[in-house]
Structure formats: structure tokens, C-alpha cells
């Protein structure tokens, strides 16, 4: 079983806030800190913008792990954005846990724009935890691709 798990390459979505964690990821690049390739970063203006539906959509489509990275409370660009992210995250956490997604697959973290090393460390550790957990229990659900129009209709 764990040979399958060793080969298993999780796909992790990371919602990174434009003012703190996204530049931290860039900083990790500038200092060439290596971390696994499983992270896919989506830029949002603020951690508080990430709605429960976005996280659920990510899991529904097959994400093995979702990371929401936003600023520390005191240096948030929008003064209170990080607090909002924490409040919304409480609801998302309850929903994902109730639907049967392991608690550790969803993570909220605080990374300021200078903490490039922290971003790399979080990326490494989160990928490791997800690898340990194995593939997401949710099979991919997406029905037909949205853009081809079936023949008989045309």
C-alpha cells in the first residue's frame, strides 16, 4: 500500500494573500529555498476573501490539501483582513470536518512578506502531512467539460 502512497503525488491548492504570503513565496524563490512541487499558488487580495465555497470547490474537484496563507494580525495591509480570514475559516473548518475531510488537509497559516524561510518550511511540512494522509477521500466529480457543446444539440 505505501508503495502506492510513496508514488502518490498530492496536488495542494494554496490561497496566498497578495501583500504577505505571496511575496514570501517569491522571497523563497529569490533565496532559492527548495520545496516540493505539489503546491499550486492562487493569488487573492486578502486571506479574508477566501469563502468556504472556494475551499469546498477545491476539495470537490480533487485537491488533496488546501492551504490558506495570510498576514499576521499586526501587519495586515487591510488592518483587519487577517482577523476576518480567521472567522470565515472557523466555518470552513467545521464543514470540511463534518463532510469527512481529515482535519489536517485544511490549514490556515500566518506568513509575513519577510518570512521566506517560513513559507518554504510550511510548504515542505504541509506536503509531507498530506503525503502521509494519502489521496483525498473525494473522487473527482466534475461532469462533462464545460466548453464542448454536445453534438446532437447543435
Amino acid at each position: 500500500m505505501n508503495s502506492q502512497k510513496a508514488k502518490f503525488e498530492p496536488k495542494i491548492v494554496a490561497f496566498c494573500c497578495n501583500w504577505c504570503s505571496y511575496p514570501a513565496a517569491d522571497g523563497a524563490g529569490v533565496s532559492r529555498l527548495q520545496y516540493p512541487t505539489n503546491i499550486r499558488i492562487i493569488r487573492v487580495m486578502c486571506g479574508g476573501r477566501v469563502t468556504p465555497s472556494l475551499v469546498l470547490k477545491a476539495f470537490e474537484l480533487g485537491a488533496d490539501g488546501v492551504l490558506v496563507a495570510t498576514c499576521h494580525f499586526e501587519d495586515c495591509h487591510y488592518m483587519f483582513g487577517a482577523r476576518k480570514a480567521a472567522d470565515v475559516h472557523k466555518i470552513t473548518e467545521q464543514l470540511t470536518e463534518m463532510i469527512g475531510i481529515e482535519k489536517d488537509r485544511l490549514m490556515l497559516d500566518w506568513i509575513s512578506s519577510a518570512e521566506a524561510t517560513k513559507f518554504a518550511k510550511v510548504a515542505q511540512e504541509f506536503t509531507a502531512t498530506i503525503k502521509k494522509l494519502g489521496p483525498s477521500p473525494i473522487k473527482k466529480q466534475m461532469t462533462g467539460d464545460k466548453y464542448q457543446i454536445t453534438e446532437d444539440i447543435k
Binding site: 468556504p52 476539495f59 444539440i153
Partner: protein
């Protein structure tokens, strides 16, 4: 079935263009861009692609008021459902409220070996089992209470009340730990494939638990099990709404109810009323409560007005207007409480009442019928 056959089956071609449906449709009253008559017209005459791409097919609340009133007895609601099933195939979909969180949850539930943690609400004085004769279908209440925690709605109270009543009547209902969403919202959203997966799963779970009878507190689940499941799967169990069960049990003497000197009014849920024709049972149950007086709203039973949103789709300013109108009607009955028997009504009405701009003339306390009865049980 192809779209042409579905339209024919719904008798749309018999349309007299009288417009009575548009006149009675609660959505058209506020959204002047939506007219059931024009849609039927389009279904018969225009090209299929143009029909499927029309955004209005998603605006219908499927509350069946038009079917009630249609002199040509057109089955408008089932036609709309068929069109939606076809439209979803080419990628069309409704504007889902709450960012589509509900839809995502339901589609996630189609995963076979999911390990949900949804039994936390069963506290120890409620007796439930893993297998037995009667099964109580909870529905998505645990998720609703989290998703709508900002409007402090507590739909699980109805589930607790239902189990308490069943226990009171000597029944220890089965509650499935891995119960899935009945699929109602996905079906009416046009996603047939995932609906079938959910249905199949629920049916197998119920078979495995050995239950012969399934009790519902949520009318949408009840209608889906009663009408839609048999269309695709063979179900060897009976289904019943809890109000029907209560109505039957009124006779036997365990069911003694405390006095409640209050005036209430009752909102007929579209699925229970117009879809399944159950109007009297709830009222019988209410009248069984000593001193409890029922003041009917102007538009009740067959012509009750829908709570404004169906299947978490296209919630808009029009839904708000529908809800405010309906709440005003309830206030006009000078009732102390508005009795509901559907979790969706409870959520939508409370959401409408939450915003203080709307002021006093719509604020009314809401309670589920089962909760009312459960609280009133003597020797409970």
C-alpha cells in the same frame, strides 16, 4: 429522454397562452423579466439551443402554483426540470448562492466511502439504532446549521424533536451515520448523474439497515424519495412524512399534549402541499394541541406562497420581496408564531427577517411543527 419528448409529455403544446400562470407566479410578480407563458412558448417554438441557453429556466421556484392554476393542466414544473437536466449537460447552470458551497457539499457526498462526522447532534436522551424497522431520514440539517450560523438558525432542533416524538411513540428509529443528501437540490439543479449516485447510495444504506419504513421531517426529502427515487431505482420501503405519522397517532392515548394558549399560523411547504397534496395532516396535528388556535393566512393550502428560494439557486432581490410579502401576510394573522414544517422555509424566512432595515412589520417567531409537538408532549 430527449427534450422534445419531455415537452410533449408535459402537455406544453396545449398551452392556450392565457397567461394565468404568469399572473399567479410569485417570481413574475417581482421579476418582470420572467414569464412562465413565454417560456412555454419558447419551449414549443424556438430552437433547442436557444431554450437551453435561456437564463430564465433557472429562475423558476418549481413551487407548482402555475400547475395548480393552469386551465390546460400543463405540467410546467416537470417540463422545467427536464429542460434543466438537458441544459446542465451543455454546461449551463444556475447562479448558486453562497458561492455554490451547498452544491459542492452535495457533490462531495457522492464519494462512496466517505466518513462523515454528522451524528454529534444525537445527545444521549434520544434513542436511535443502526438497524431496525423504522428509519428517520435527517437530511442536510447538520450542514445547514454550520453554513448559516451567521443567521443563528437551528434546523437540527426539528431532527431532535422528530426522534423524541418517535421515541415517545415507542419507536427507536434508525439514523444512518453515513446518510447522504437526498439529492433534491442537485436534481432540480439539473445534475442528474450525481443525483443518481446519491440516491443509489441512500437506498443501499437503507436496505442494509433493514428499515421498512422511512420517516421524513423535511418535505423536499420526502418528495424526492416518494416521486423521484422510484423513477430510477426500485425502493422496497415505505416513506412517510412525520406530520402524517403524527396525524395517524393522534388517536392513541400515549400522545397527550400540554396546553398551549397561543395563536399560530401555518406555512404550507410547496413540496408537502402542492407536490404531494398533504394539507390537512399538519392542521390536524396543530388542532390536537389543547388551546392552540390556528389562524390561517390569506393564501393557504393550495395557494400558499413559496418561501422564495429553491435548491439554493438564484436567490435575489425578488426572493427577498417574495419572503417579505409572505411574512407580512403571516403578521396580518396576528399569530404569535409562524409554524413551519420545512428546514428551507425556516432558513429563508429567518434570513429575510435578519436584516433590521426591514423593520417590525415582518418580525415573527418561527417554529417547526415537530418541535412544537415535541415540546408539548406530556410524559415525554
Amino acid at each position: 429522454m430527449s427534450i422534445k419528448k419531455a415537452i410533449k409529455e408535459s402537455r406544453a403544446y396545449l398551452c392556450l397562452e392565457c397567461g394565468k400562470c404568469t399572473g399567479s407566479c410569485p417570481v413574475s410578480r417581482f421579476n418582470h423579466g420572467y414569464s412562465p407563458r413565454l417560456l412555454v412558448n419558447k419551449a414549443i417554438r424556438s430552437g433547442q439551443l436557444e431554450l437551453l441557453k435561456d437564463k430564465n429556466i433557472w429562475a423558476c421556484l418549481t413551487c407548482k402554483l402555475c400547475d395548480e392554476r393552469c386551465p390546460a393542466d400543463i405540467d410546467y414544473v416537470n417540463m422545467t426540470l427536464a429542460i434543466r437536466l438537458e441544459a446542465q449537460k451543455i454546461g449551463e447552470e444556475a447562479i448558486c448562492s453562497h458561492g455554490g458551497a451547498a452544491q459542492s457539499l452535495m457533490r462531495i457526498m457522492t464519494t462512496p466511502d466517505l466518513q462523515q462526522k454528522r451524528m454529534a447532534w444525537i445527545d444521549n436522551d434520544l434513542k436511535t439504532t443502526q438497524s431496525g424497522e423504522t428509519l428517520y431520514f435527517v437530511g442536510c440539517l447538520p450542514y445547514f446549521d454550520v453554513l448559516f450560523s451567521d443567521i443563528e438558525v437551528n434546523t437540527l432542533k426539528a431532527a431532535k424533536a422528530s426522534v423524541k416524538i418517535l421515541n415517545h411513540l415507542g419507536i427507536t428509529p434508525v439514523v444512518l451515520p453515513q446518510e447522504r443528501c437526498c439529492g433534491h437540490d442537485l436534481l432540480w439543479g439539473g445534475d442528474l448523474e450525481n443525483f443518481k449516485k446519491l440516491a443509489e447510495h441512500n437506498i443501499n444504506e437503507i436496505k442494509r439497515s433493514g428499515a421498512k419504513k422511512v420517516i421524513f421531517s423535511c418535505p423536499e426529502g420526502y418528495r424526492t424519495f416518494k416521486i423521484d427515487y422510484p423513477k430510477y431505482f426500485e425502493c422496497n420501503f415505505e416513506v412517510q412524512h412525520i406530520t402524517e405519522l403524527l396525524a395517524e397517532a393522534l388517536g392513541n392515548e400515549q400522545l397527550k399534549l400540554k396546553e398551549m394558549d397561543k395563536v399560530v399560523t401555518f406555512q404550507d411547504p410547496c413540496r408537502l402541499g402542492r407536490h404531494l397534496g398533504i394539507y390537512e395532516e399538519p392542521r390536524k396535528v396543530i388542532s390536537a394541541v389543547p388551546e392552540l388556535k390556528l389562524a390561517e393566512m390569506v393564501r393557504n393550502r393550495k395557494s400558499a406562497i413559496c418561501c422564495g428560494v429553491s435548491a439554493w439557486m438564484n436567490c435575489s432581490t425578488y426572493s427577498k420581496s417574495i419572503q417579505l410579502a409572505r411574512l407580512k401576510e403571516a403578521k396580518q394573522t396576528a399569530a404569535d408564531m409562524l409554524v413551519l414544517s420545512c428546514p428551507k422555509c425556516e432558513i429563508h424566512f429567518n434570513c429575510a427577517m435578519k436584516d433590521e432595515k426591514v423593520g417590525k412589520d415582518v418580525k415573527i417567531e418561527t417554529i417547526q411543527l415537530v418541535t412544537l409537538i415535541a415540546d408539548a408532549l406530556i410524559g415525554g
